[in-house]
Amino acid sequence: MKYIKSTCVPLNIENVDTDQIIPARFLKATTKEGFGDNLFRDWRYDKQEQPIADFVLNQDTYKGEVLVAGKNFGCGSSREHAAWAIGDYGFKIVVSSFFADIFKGNALNNGILPLVVSEEFLAELFADIEADPSTSLEVDLETQKAWISGKEDNKQSFEIDDYKKMCLINGYDDIDYLLSLKDEIAKYEANRAYTFNV
């Protein structure tokens, strides 16, 4: 992932917790696949398993690889299944003015960019999408800038640490990185000031 341009799916709700992203009863799988079908399950389907017409994922008007969400997205449970569900559904970026920490980490570990923008930019993005569902967001990971297509003069800078940026761009693997530090870890263990009774 270096540059993405996509239309957006707006979910203008604050404090969306991971129990809503993927309810607990769908956490029983022992693999990482197939969670997209149950993304936002209880907002998406009624008790008779019929799609709820006014929920945004059920509206043909809104499509795209970018989910735009209200403040404090991904709070609550640490379940990585939430990130798997978002990725499996086809989103590559989630935009919000604020993310819960564990969700943010889980998203990055699964190649999904949690894009933090200002409250003002988020409000403008929601308004533009509402006025014109074909509104696109463009994101350049290399320069760490995001902008609404046609509004290049108002680019949002976003933060991402060098390591995670490298991982997203190259599809780099955390575990390969940690395994490459084997000697340092062994040295740490040998020199611990205090050995716990583990």
Partner: protein, 466 residues
Amino acid sequence: MSNNKPRTLFEKVWDSHVVQRKENYPDVLYIDTHFIHEVTSPQAFNGLRGRGIQLARVDQTWGTADHNVPTKDQHLPIKEALSRHQVETLTKNCDEFGVKLYGLGHPFQGIVHVIGPELGVTQPGKTIVCGDSHTSTHGAFGSIAFGIGTSQVEQVMSSQCTLQNKPKAMRIVVDGELQEGVSAKDIVLYIISKLSASGGTGYFIEFAGSAIRNLSMEGRMTVCNMSIEMGARGGIIAPDQTTFDYLEGREFSPKGEEWEKSVAYWSSLPTDEGATFDAEFVYNAADIAPMVTYGTNPGMGVGVDSSVPTPESESDKKALEYMGLEEGESLIGKPIDYVFIGSCTNARIEDLRAVAEFVKGKKKADGVNVWIVPGSKQVEKQAIAEGLDKVYAEAGFELREPGCSACLGMNEDKVPAGLYCISTSNRNFEGRQGPGARTLLASPLTAAAAAVNGHIVDIRKELTTA
């Protein structure tokens, strides 16, 4: 890093576990204790298999089954096929990789955040992780404990380290005396109502002040348990004599000379005079009323004698609609269908004792279902040894077997759609206790009083009239 600079408890523990620090990279943090359970581990074990590697430190890894377990007839196979499969997968994985497992039927089985402390595995100065956000509970002992995702579970399994950005430091001081009937759960619900469900995001919180120091270990665990509900990575409380007294003699606590050395080391951990925090809040314990939540996140809580506040946003309106509550409505007198006393927040022996002491000689109201779910087999055993089971039976309360139970809808214990449950658990999210369930969070005492009255009451009045 100067050695003379005053440091916080959090900094001391964190910095002593950094294997590698590089600018603009996450720290490589060494993990002393890794707890695993059935929900967030299977994909990580698959990852190890795919790489053909073993666990880096199997001796520092502990497994239990808790989220999916039934709380009735645990001697029988789990009825629900997917739950059974997930628990069996954990057993197979632990066998194959040599991880010790306190699964169903084991005398140490229970909720991961209850068994760690009661076995003495949780100790001051340690780094502790688990694929569960309420790992923050273990911070009550002066350890750095936090929840991780499954990718990080795999990181720890394969290297005993995880990549972490160091959080900012916050201190929350609660000074003074609590009113009678106000407990640790009320303290933490009060703090979250002040700071909001995102007020602690990006921070690790040290809880301090006389009201915190006066809490038992159980109470401290309740406070740290819910630090995640204000968005914090975790909560931490300085170890002191209360901590040492709790740990001494437990199954995996250090013994003999090792114990003496440990206590000396643990005593060096509290925050130095003059250490600085990135944010600090001070509250007066006497201001805290028994708390109840009215909305769909734990920040939406008020003193029980207050009314439902006016919604400030569309999200707030949606929450009240889901809860079937109106602005200005009094919470006292609100009828309750279910009472759940349990979960990693409030299922320790002290919680069960407090409930039994209150209900002794009383009966539950007609039409209310009351579930008491111990946090572990050891808590269950202790409760029965003390005769609490008889008190519950006389009151019409149902004592079940240990597990996460009605905290979240992964097992058989669910609250039916539209019904109200006053719950000692940590989350009132939409559908958390089952699709459409309406959850009001409260302390064990407030929950027990609701069970007896059939509706929400102010526990302070119940205690003075008793």
